[in-house]
Subunit: 261 residues, 2 copies
Amino acid sequence: MTVPLHERVRTSIRDRILSGDLVAGDTLPSEAELCAQFGASRGPVRQAISALSAEGLIETSQGKVPTVSRLPLKQPIDDFFSFSAWVTAIGRIPGQHTVEIALRRADPVLSAELRVDDDENIVQLLRVRSIDAEPTMLERTAFVAWVGRMLFDFDTDSGSIFGHLIEQGVPLDHGEHTIDAVAADEQDALHLSVPVGSPLLRVRRVTTSRDGEVLEYSDDRYRPDRADLVVRNARTPTSQRVFVTRQLTPETSGDTSRRTP
Amino acid sequence: MTVPLHERVRTSIRDRILSGDLVAGDTLPSEAELCAQFGASRGPVRQAISALSAEGLIETSQGKVPTVSRLPLKQPIDDFFSFSAWVTAIGRIPGQHTVEIALRRADPVLSAELRVDDDENIVQLLRVRSIDAEPTMLERTAFVAWVGRMLFDFDTDSGSIFGHLIEQGVPLDHGEHTIDAVAADEQDALHLSVPVGSPLLRVRRVTTSRDGEVLEYSDDRYRPDRADLVVRNARTPTSQRVFVTRQLTPETSGDTSRRTP
DNA sequence: TAGTGGTCTAGACCACATC
DNA sequence: ATGTGGTCTAGACCACTAA
């Protein structure tokens, strides 16, 4: 075996959690049991447990057997990539309506983002995403040709393109999201049912493989009265983690602007 | 000593890095040297090194002595809390102009956010933040009284309030940032020199102590042509980390909206 | 009280980097 | 060839939890 023992223990436990064999709140086997099970000493077992704890999958404390975290089974990471995964995770029904899917020559802006030549073809997709049938986000996505072609034999109204591409083996791994605000143009206004010029939350995303090859570029615009982004972080040097997720805009989202008259 | 040996090793090395004794790119002592230095075996030393690596302060690889990361000395975490820290870190000059600082009774919305009674006093601050003298962000902050009082003997135009409060021992630890888009109101328009109704990127932040006590609430509005937020993440289960930071809006930020006509 | 995880030691072998 | 970190073992003691 070239794969280290502590890695084998780690992936074994992780698989049991992600597959649903172990559910939130369940207790893991004790260290002694794991040692026996893998014929290992405590070192590798503890290394695996420590890594899973850092990963956020389990929680440990002295004197008690580790338990599976009660966080969403899907890591927030995945939710942040996939609109469908997020909406499903919060117990709502995601919807999508494909306005257009086309294979065409890249224009200068998109060819630069996707790092392809100006005369290369790319696949473009325009979709309206909704939550419980209410239009929430307008998505303008561009794929490099070899990835985008996989969408022509896929019903883009049926669910998560991201999930489909990953199943097909597309190595989507790293995402860089740039967040700002824009005024709705005519197309935004039409599909999101807002007045032209109203403020939208824009998230532009460049998705790459682990090697840094650009696979996808997207310009997503959210109705701010329907969805927000949330970032949680902490200064504490130990166990500092950052969580990013979307959230439904709370009903009571009061206007806190003119509080200092 | 009740504090574990590996913790002592860890904080010792971390202090040397944060104090500037060890600079980006410098090599740490080897494990053997650390063992001798602390009179320890390899276990605790490796545990400390592993933690520092997870923290992002150092980088390790087989056969080579660990080196101090060349990431910004301040973690992105800190940059995301503090406007001044961020602007300074990117080599620009931060500026701030305090429009108003006042001790007054909390209105219903703010008292709810700060979790104080309706009849309690809070400290409110309205500041224009700028980069290289260009107004970039309008900040409406509210502090619980005992924290806010520390600002009356502090020149709020001189720099980072966050830094000042932390120096005073205010246990600012956890932040929850809600990000959306709003249309500029009259006050926004006046101080940011934009037309009324133009889209602004809004970041509302609730800052709490490690115990969850709410200390500060802020409503920050950015000119999207001046500053963006960036979120980087990865799907890979191992070493998955999320980075959030601000960035200057690139000059070449092309409009990618009407690409699918 | 018995079992658990948290800490630490002492020694070993291997893969990799450097000279 | 030597030193480095990566891995693993076997045993020990302590602090905490739960029955």
